[in-house]
Symmetry: C2
């Protein structure tokens, strides 16, 4: 996995003093890296971040290189939570991303906004566990598309009802590592969906949902939604 390493200077953690609640003196949001910039590894980092723009993924590795992407974060989401002062996972950006440091992760423990974010994350993780453990390859890929369309749908700004076109920040390999599949299976599913008229893409990263209802159905979302709270 080709990932540009952060230099020591780049990895330097932001000032410990800043807190989420107190207004920060300077705008610290910054543009990070090109594709696949490693932000920190498990256990190495102590700051909380917010994704301002772009896409960040959290992952874990097994001995032999097997990788699991445990979460995909779009604009607004927080990451960098620690347990016993150590980071839970490895974080890296996909494509160009802007992230905003929020200060020491441990100091914010009692912020209600943090608790809310944690619970929302937990919620997503549970839905994803169900996907990983109990869904077929087609359902997994369809679910991922629905999820990513919601995260990265452009045209959410202007009044127009948003043609469901979005930038797939993830590569096929990333998708595979997120969904517990292989690159080939992901590719086959996407192309089958394309043949069947569910989605379309000319460029492999520019997705467009043609038939949202059938895609939702393929994802097997109906009951899970009732089971869940409203998906945020």
């Amino acid at each position: 996995m080709p990932e540009t390493q952060f230099t020591a200077a780049q990895l330097a953690v932001p000032p410990r003093t800043s807190s989420i609640r107190s207004p920060r003196p300077v705008v610290r949001s910054r543009i990070v890296g090109e594709n696949h910039t490693l932000l920190y590894e498990g256990g190495r980092n102590r700051s909380l971040y917010r994704v301002v723009d772009g896409c960040v993924v959290l992952s874990q590795l097994l001995d032999d290189g097997r990788r699991q992407i445990t979460d995909v974060l779009g604009p607004g989401r927080l990451f960098g939570f620690t347990v016993d002062g150590r980071n839970i996972a490895t974080a890296e950006t996909l494509s160009v991303a802007r992230i905003e440091p929020l200060g020491d992760a441990d100091l914010n423990a009692d912020d209600p906004a943090i608790a809310r974010e944690l619970k929302a994350t937990l919620h997503r993780m549970q839905a994803h566990a169900t996907l990983l453990g109990r869904k077929t390859a087609s359902e997994k890929v369809a679910s991922a598309l629905v999820e990513l369309a919601r995260l990265f749908n452009r045209a959410a700004r202007n009044g127009a009802p948003a043609r469901l076109s979005f930038h797939l920040h993830l590569t096929r390999a990333d998708l595979a590592d997120w969904l517990g599949l292989t690159v080939e299976t992901v590719s086959r599913c996407l192309n089958r969906f394309k043949r069947e008229g569910l989605i379309d893409f000319s460029h492999p990263k520019t997705m467009r949902v043609l038939d949202p209802e059938r895609l939702d159905a393929t994802a097997g979302f109906s009951r899970q939604r009732a089971n869940d709270a409203a998906r945020p």
Copy 2:
């Protein structure tokens, strides 16, 4: 103290047959149910609980009955977190369990202990996502045994280094739903481990670890541990 709102209607929908107790005007800690007592369903409940004794599992259902157990909770763990006032998952006890209501889930949002618990839960969920997405059946079952041995190891009380014998609160079906496998595969793995001298059991629920190191190795824990923080 919020009284737990069990109605016959709510309790009448368990995913599997279970004898259900009528609710008692709750005080503090109490003994709940026999096997498989449904505590609440997704979206129905608003209280936080702590597991005092026994075992509680959280799960989600798909349309067609496929079930995923998203977390297995032993003594000390909290559950009942809400997102937008709705519960994240369905909770049920396995075997006899004592749980302790802690009050309205929303009111505790800024308690640092709650944040810590949430982060620990998140941590476990991420490790489990890696298991679900990237481990083989043998690795999954071995991991489960290691995890459950840690949770339910008896003899933790007396000074003795504890023969690794513990009560498997989960049925084979529960294990399967936790690990994303089928009953048959779980059973085959357990019996293979038994033949190979990794574990032993005469009664299907009474497990004993004979060779902790090899079991750990089979679970594929080495690197993941480096990746993780110390496992709590």
